[in-house]
């Protein structure tokens, strides 16, 4: 009895592992198709601009508010600890390095995974189950180019910009706390920020955010484009897009930190 239960569990785990790796393989092929088709005409510039607007402009408020609260809370929480060691003058350096190098890109990418990744998954998924993607193909438009490539390029371009904006607003939030609590002027605070930040801090974070954007677009599009099982499938596509993107973001972050550590 116990042996049978163990066998069943092992079999389930093996099946799930197999399907997970099969999905990773499919996703890699999907990415391969993206690189094959992205540089070949026709180019869908109008749709690309529309997607950039949808993903960039319409995420501004969410990213702005998140960044502001992030900077505010991070500074408020760190202040008492730094004061214990009489190191409050290090606040600007510590906050700026943490936010620019790590916290800002990761948190904003996770927020965008929820907003943009799930949105892409649901939109393409619903287009798939209502045969809109088939209709596009029948009308002589390559749906992969029109729907997938434009979205992946848009997220890849927009995410670094959103992260730079989010980081800036987070530092502003931090500066406000320092100004109110520690009587540090904005000029002094930002002088300390720019003194602390090096090119080697900003460049890897920006490059990393390009990969974050690509991952969000790729997984969202993959899940939506290959959606099946009707409306239930749309929900699953949207949900699993966020789960996969979140996992992938941490993997990319780990690799990025590892590589940065070697080169910078």
């Amino acid at each position: 009895m116990i042996f049978q239960l163990l066998m069943d569990k092992t079999s389930t785990i093996l099946t799930r592992t197999k399907s997970f790796f099969a999905e990773i393989g499919d996703m890699t092929l999907f990415a391969g198709r993206f690189f094959r088709e992205v540089f070949s005409p026709p180019f869908e510039f109008t749709e690309l601009l529309r997607q950039c607007y949808n993903m960039g402009n319409r995420s501004l408020l969410l990213v702005g508010v998140t960044g502001f609260i992030l900077g505010l809370v991070f500074t408020l929480q760190s202040r008492p600890t730094l004061m214990q060691f009489g190191a409050q003058s290090w606040m600007a350096s510590m906050v700026s390095l943490s936010i620019v190098r790590e916290i800002g890109p990761v948190i904003i990418a996770l927020i965008c995974a929820g907003r943009i990744g799930s949105g892409i998954g649901a939109e393409l998924g619903s287009m798939r189950v209502t045969e809109q993607i088939d209709a596009m193909e029948v009308s002589g438009t390559n749906p992969f180019k029109y729907l997938v490539i434009t979205r992946i390029v848009a997220t890849t371009l927009m995410l670094p910009l959103l992260i730079i904006m989010g980081d800036t607003i987070a530092l502003l939030g931090s500066a406000i706390v320092e100004n109110l609590k520690g009587d540090v002027s904005f000029l002094l605070y930002f002088n300390q920020v720019f003194d602390a930040l090096r090119f080697s801090d900003i460049l890897p974070a920006t490059v990393k955010s390009v990969f974050f954007g690509f991952a969000i677009g790729l997984v969202g599009c993959y899940k939506g484009y290959n959606c099946s099982k009707g409306t239930v499938g749309v929900g699953e596509a949207s949900n699993s897009a966020v789960v996969y993107i979140s996992m992938l973001l941490f993997v990319i972050d780990f690799i990025a930190v590892f590589v940065t550590d070697i080169f910078f």
Partner: protein, 250 residues
């Protein structure tokens, strides 16, 4: 139908096979559609009608068999050639398949964006869009979103979109499914008028007997993946075969 022997088919399917895993959907289906003809394919739900029609437009690759449209074997065609051939085919999807992020106008303009030569051959985009909407009696819906339209109106707009490139062949996948009887009748009459106006050849996939009665010149019954019976509506509806009769009995 006697003249069929002298006519050349605009669309021909030979020995079409398609399976999904162990599920053998099509097992050697054959079909010929002649110019100006309305051919109705009837079959039970899940009999492979939609799979067959999707094979015809290259959305699904068949496992075996040949599909010839205007003397071109679509299975061997490349993407570009297939896209050009698709301008000769209009397709009305079962659920209309209107792009819900676009207005009616944008939905109709969409097939034109990759076929500028067609616009030059005819008139400007605006004129084509207006003409297509007038054909389906929805000129005043041009700036509405699909979500603002009723099911019947959506089907009409989808029909207008299928017509915009003035195709020679129109394929209808369950054109009356999900519509009330009155709207379904309107759509059937609209299909008949369009066929008369543009002299198109139509392939209609349906299990609606009323639709078949009004519109068909010839019918094929698809049962178990093969052509089970073929003939005019009268011939089939008077058949003594119990499987054929099952389609016509309410």
């Amino acid at each position: 139908m006697n003249s069929e022997k002298n006519k050349k088919p605009v669309l021909e399917l030979k020995n079409l096979h398609k399976s999904f895993g162990d599920n053998h959907v099509l097992k050697g289906f054959n079909l010929k559609l002649f110019e100006g003809e309305n051919l109705v394919i009837m079959g039970k739900s899940g009999s492979g009608k939609s799979v067959m029609v999707k094979c015809l437009v290259g959305l699904i690759q068949p496992d075996k068999g040949s599909i010839t449209i205007n003397d071109e074997d679509i299975i061997t065609l490349g993407h570009k050639e297939l896209d050009i051939l698709r301008t000769e085919i209009g397709f009305l999807f079962q659920g209309s398949a209107l792009y819900d992020s676009m207005t009616v106008r944008e939905n109709l303009e969409f097939p034109l964006r990759r076929h500028k030569d067609k616009i030059e051959n005819f008139q400007g985009t605006e004129i084509l869009v207006k003409e297509a909407l007038e054909n389906v009696g929805l000129s005043n819906a041009i700036d509405l979103m699909p979500a603002e339209l009723s099911g019947g109106m959506q089907r009409r707009v989808a029909l207008a979109r299928a017509l915009i490139l003035k195709p020679k062949i129109i394929m209808y996948d369950e054109p009356t499914t999900g519509l009330d009887p009155i709207t379904a009748k309107e759509i059937i009459l609209l299909m008949r008028n369009i066929q008369k106006k543009y002299h198109t050849s139509s392939l209609i996939i349906t299990h609606d007997v009323d639709c078949a009665r009004v519109i068909s010149n010839r019918m094929i019954l698809l049962v178990d993946g093969i052509n089970y019976a073929e003939g005019s509506f009268e011939e089939l509806s008077n058949s003594s075969d119990p499987q054929v009769q099952a389609f016509f009995k309410n």
